[in-house]
Amino acid sequence: MDRFLWTSGLLEINETLVIQQRGVRIYDGEEKIKFDAGTLLLSTHRLIWRDQKNHVSQFSASVLGLESLRVFFSFLAKVAKIVVHLHPAPPNKEPGPFQSSKNSYVKLSFKEHGQIEFYRRLSEEMTQRRWENMPVSQSLQMNRGPQPGRIRAVGIVGIERKLEEKRKETDKNISEAFEDLSKLMIKAKEMVELSKSIASKIKDKQGDITEDETIRFKSYLLSMGIANPVTRETYGSGTQYHMQLAKQLVGILQVPLEERGGIMSLTEVYCLVNRARGMELLSPEDLVNACKMLDALKLPLRLRVFDSGVMVIELQSHKEEEMLASALETVSEKGSLTSEEFAKLVGMSVLLAKERLLLAEKMGHLCRDDSVEGLRFYPNLFMTQN
């Protein structure tokens, strides 16, 4: 804290305000000091802390004097802090809030948040070094406070007013957005009511509504994000969109599946497909609903749900039951294996390795040894011996 100096807070010509944030507390190293509620301002040249209660009390450090930044998140503390390391003050530094300090860094605690944006801007300023291209008075560059009597082109007050206006306009935009949102929601609610009414008509007349009409209805529900009131099934199963999607999936997943031994968890598929798409991503439900149609459409992939609830996609040609024989062999060779060990040996994900071993156990090929050291599988000698 001995690297700051008192300032009037007025900006120099060529110095512009970059960002400001209320509710910032400053610590001298780890120690709490009296500057607990202030506004932190960042300009192209300086970092300024101004007391919220007493605007006259403010001090600054030139950005040039900042050595490095760290962001500090503590689970227990629950308030994010930015740690700022400062170069030692030059011997001719003007007076500041602290004559001396054993700390070479300060901590800024953002009680009203805003630290992400502030950190970003601060890093940018430190990199861009705009103070080099926009020379201000000598006094500023040498980390001295502005001298009285100089002409100020722009005052902090003027900047504050502009920011206040901008804030008011943002507020206005937000309230307009909320108003528009409410109006939109009223219309959306009408759609929900209409769909309910249609659904009840459909229920009353089972079989009198054509399949074509059912498909149309389902696609309307999908567009609006309304759950099917008749069957309560999750959105969109049985729509054209999901049928197309199912066919697309075959193209995308054929090779990856072959590379992974014919089986992938749905989570892996979700990541793979969405990473490949980049935009217009699939929702988890889209993926599940498309996969549910694979069998019906007689495609070369199928969806399988294990007892544990884990869902996988398999090549139709993949027979998990046949894999069990080789799994038993592998386990027998090693005497016993945990899911992790098996996964490593065979080159599978731990999740799927565990499912395979569990299935083998279910079929009676393996039996388990469940202890605090983990779950270990052994060949089921009860079956084979005697």
Binding site: L69, F73, M126, M191, K205, S223, G225, I226, G236, Y241
Partner: protein, 258 residues
Amino acid sequence: MHRRGVGAGAIAKKKLAEAKYKERGTVLAEDQLAQMSKQLDMFKTNLEEFASKHKQEIRKNPEFRVQFQDMCATIGVDPLASGKGFWSEMLGVGDFYYELGVQIIEVCLALKHRNGGLITLEELHQQVLKGRGKFAQDVSQDDLIRAIKKLKALGTGFSIIPVGGTYLIQSVPAELNMDHTVVLQLAEKNGYVTVSEIKASLKWETERARQVLEHLLKEGLAWLDLQAPGEAHYWLPALFTDLYSQEVTAEEAREALP
């Protein structure tokens, strides 16, 4: 005296009346579907207008997103149900959350070996932000929760466990019942828990406490510390205080920016 209602004629008449009624019923449904189709088109236009004015607000403002989601939920609409839905297509909310889902899965997978598939919402938040990089959109904890709720559909055991004012996110299908959850909540204070603590706070018998702790050990969610003073400590790596520290020197910052 006239005979009434009975006879082939009456039956035929009745059948005709039924047929007419059915016909009319089908026409009614058709009418309503046509009406819905028209209203849907109108709604789409309204949504487009809304999007052109406020799409940025949704992208940039986490609080606005929360309002938006809550309002949708109130009227019975799920804007994240499908990437093909209007909301997703026009407001772009879908891509935001589905991509977040991918990032969450990747973080959980990367840290699973350390915490057994259990992570605090805070740590998940930090790691996701770290992965997204300095210039990405801000993501709130509410956003993470919503994305995780959607991921549950994929069947791989994502669940959200409330503990002491925050949440633990489980990403593997480990079986955690009420007893396990309660012990996790107890452990949140110090990052670890002991048998005596459980007995004192929850008034359980030793055996019950032991079983729960053994299960947590087995699932890789807890680590056993036999060298702790007094009795054995059961630590939960998921709850370790996370000191996230990223040193940025001026050189590195210069390199990082394009």
